[in-house]
Amino acid sequence: MIQFAVNPYTGRDFFGFFATLLQRIYLFFKGGAVTLVSDEIQCIVLLLLSLALAFLGSFLVAKQMTMVANALSHTLLVGIVIAFLILRSLSGSSVFSVSLDSVKTLWVGALITGLITTVSTQFLKHRFRVQEDASIGLVFTTLFAFGIFLVTVFTRNMHIGVEAIMGNIDALHVRDIEKTGLFTLVTLFMYLLFFRGFFSVAFDPGFSKSVGLPVKGLDYLLMILTAGGAIASFRAVGVLLFLALLVGPPLIAGLYTRSMKKIIALSFAVSFCCCMFSVALSRHMLTIYTMPLPTSGLFVTSLFIFYLVALGLRLLGRKNGLTYRIFCR
């Protein structure tokens, strides 16, 4: 008989979820044996992602390069497939089995994706004098179409293409924590090393070049890290949530503060709230209404609503805003 670990969150509603969570954290710190269950894995993966993407996203939004991130999120499919093919041919025929989602494949894939996308976009722009948005659009649609074609022909399965977009958060495994954690560590490390450089390049490329910073190198590094983020998140939550996590929190943070460090901190806080909220809400819906909803969809929706609320508050809080008109006149 195989005994399944009972998920302690079964049957909990929205607030019960948090109670159980706190209880289990307390138990964990007391030294009790706690095995991670799917809800907690979701939380941890989402938190790790949101920590790394808060950094990446703030810089991308500041540099006005979020559409490049969108392009990267589409081209990663082709990057992974090419990395897979290269690694398979390097390792010989199935001596070391290289799977499509092993850590090595994913990292090489991220590298390839970042480089291919940026280089080809720049190439189109400079060599053929195509306008920038058209060159981004052309590159990523072509590469994505090619990726779908390759994946479908190689795996004889259409499912991966859909999963890449939607993600499959319920199928997360403990191993995914390691993958995401590795990505987050690498990103944080890079930021500790290069924060000044990124900062200066984002706001004054001319100055940074005159000071002698490798502007192009830092740009490529940022792109490769973003591709890494897309790849770390696509198995778990889909490229779509990746985009939302990248752009949404810095936008919300940008409504309230102008300092880069505060934006990063605030956007992490926002995604932390959204993450807890959506995981709890998904459990709540399942318990009370027996309605299984995808956590990634809930996450993006809650982020969207957060943003609308933040915009509304901003409107109200203005000096000639609604509250002012009502109460101060």
């Binding site: 939004v61 006005q64 390069m65 979020t66 559409m67 991130a69 969108n70 589409h74 189109l124 060599r127 053929f128 195509v130 306008q131 948005d133 058209a134 981004i136 659009g137 052309l138 649609t141 072509t142 994505f144 179409a145 090619f146 779908i148 074609f149 479908t152 022909v153 004889r156 259409m158 293409g161 859909v162 977009i165 939607m166 889909g238 779509l240 949530l241 985009l243 939302a244 990248l246 752009v247 949404g248 810095p250 936008l251 409504l255 309605m291 299984p292 909803l293 995808p294 990634s296 969809g297 809930l298 996450f299 993006v300 929706t301 982020l303 969207f304 943003y307 915009l311 901003r314």
Partner: protein
């Protein structure tokens, strides 16, 4: 199982998808030209993704109907998609104009959040209406195969309406997009026209959704327009060429996807048409780009040798290393240049020492003189052509007086 070309237009099963996807791709590429001129290529990407929740909401609405028949579901889907993208346009405008969100961040955020809402609703639909859910999923990557003759009529009407709009509004369109200031000075409301532009864009998105799919739709807006732009500089021709490329990609994309489904999956799995259509369109675009590339004029190689001659001190013998320092290039390349100069008898060598031959010295003088001449000429041009001299011989005389010649 093989099909001839003509059978794709006559066979009762195949003609629906073929003609349908050709109509869709033509319509979307025609509108793509406008989007391209407007430099809003990525808005198409956002709007196409934003239709996804609309599709599902449309299906939910349709499930509330008492009776079910397929064309009604289809109309509900398209209607839902239309409304969702209108809301997305509205939100985009508000974000950009009211809250000063940067263009790209607004686009990206609206894209991901709308699609996320769609995923949430889709998760619900998966449980309540699994069949419809699968049907909607085919909109992601496009699937023309299920279209019947009825769809030819639906898409024929949509195609005609896009052509109608583009032809009727052709003149104001040209006016606004090539000289917006003049248009507003004449009294033309550019702002209203922007709304019309978004309406056209949404129309293109909705038309092409079924065959190209939501995810790759922006490729179909960009690739034909870009290749048409490289082929011609005239607007009417651009529309025609883009439309033709669209029709071409639509037909062959459909053809290849049928072929692939038969070849690779033995007909078990229907290969999505969207990737094939977009791949064909963009491969075509890349071909045109690489053929029509304007060639850069290369600096003739002699120029580098002349640099050496100019820099060489007269009547002295120097080594290759010193020469390299003089012209500020690396040693091997300088060595190569010196050898080429020797072949032209401008340079002589003994051991590791080089010196200018008589011919070489004359050549160097000649080059310096010509360069001075051009330098003075260009200088005169920069000063607005108000120099003291009228001809090349006068310039030469001036220079001789200065002792430069």
């Amino acid at each position: 199982m093989t099909y001839g070309w003509l059978e794709f237009f006559t066979d009762p099963i195949l003609r629906g998808p073929t003609i349908g996807s050709m109509l869709m791709c033509t319509a979307s590429s025609i509108i793509g030209v406008i989007v391209f001129i407007r430099r809003r290529s990525l808005v198409g990407e956002t709007l196409s993704h934003a239709t996804y929740p609309g599709l599902i909401l449309g299906a939910f609405l349709c499930s509330a109907l008492p009776s079910f028949f397929e064309p009604a579901l289809f109309c509900f889907l398209l209607g839902g998609a239309f409304i969702a993208s209108v809301v997305a346009v509205f939100l985009l405008q508000v974000l950009q104009n009211r809250f000063r969100v940067k263009n790209d961040a607004a686009l990206c955020f609206v894209l991901s959040s709308f699609f996320g809402v769609g995923v949430l609703l889709a998760g619900r639909m998966q449980n309540t209406h699994p069949v419809w859910f699968r049907q909607i999923q085919t909109f992601l990557y496009g699937q023309a195969a299920t279209m019947t003759d009825l769809y030819i009529w639906i898409y024929g009407a949509l195609f005609l309406s896009t052509v109608f709009f583009v032809t009727v509004f052709y003149h104001p369109l040209r006016l606004v997009y090539f000289d917006g200031t003049f248009a507003s000075a004449v009294g033309f409301s550019v702002k209203k026209f922007e709304r019309f532009f978004f309406f056209l864009l949404i129309l293109a998105v909705i038309v092409a959704m079924k065959s190209v799919g939501v995810v790759l739709l922006s490729g179909m807006l960009i690739a034909p327009a870009l290749s048409a732009r490289k082929l011609t500089h005239r607007l009417p021709l651009m529309f025609w060429i883009a439309g033709l490329i669209g029709a071409f990609a639509g037909f062959f994309g459909n053809y290849l996807s049928v072929l692939l489904s038969v070849r690779f999956f033995a007909g078990n799995l229907v290969f999505p048409t969207g990737p094939m259509i977009v791949l064909l369109g963009s491969v075509f675009c890349f071909l045109i780009l690489s053929f029509k590339e304007r060639k850069k004029r290369k600096v003739p190689f002699v120029c580098y040798i002349e640099d050496v001659l100019k820099a060489f001190p007269e009547g002295r013998e120097i080594t290759c290393k010193e020469a390299a320092r003089l012209i500020r290039r690396n040693v091997p390349f300088t060595f190569f240049l010196l050898q080429r100069a020797r072949q032209n008898r401008w340079m002589e060598r003994r051991g590791s020492y080089y010196w200018l031959s008589e011919e070489g010295a004359l050549k160097a003088k000649e080059i310096i003189r010509l360069e001075r001449l051009f330098g003075v000429y260009l200088n005169g041009l920069q000063q607005g052509g108000k120099a003291d001299y009228k001809s090349a011989s006068q310039i030469a005389a001036f220079l001789r007086e200065e002792g430069n010649l």
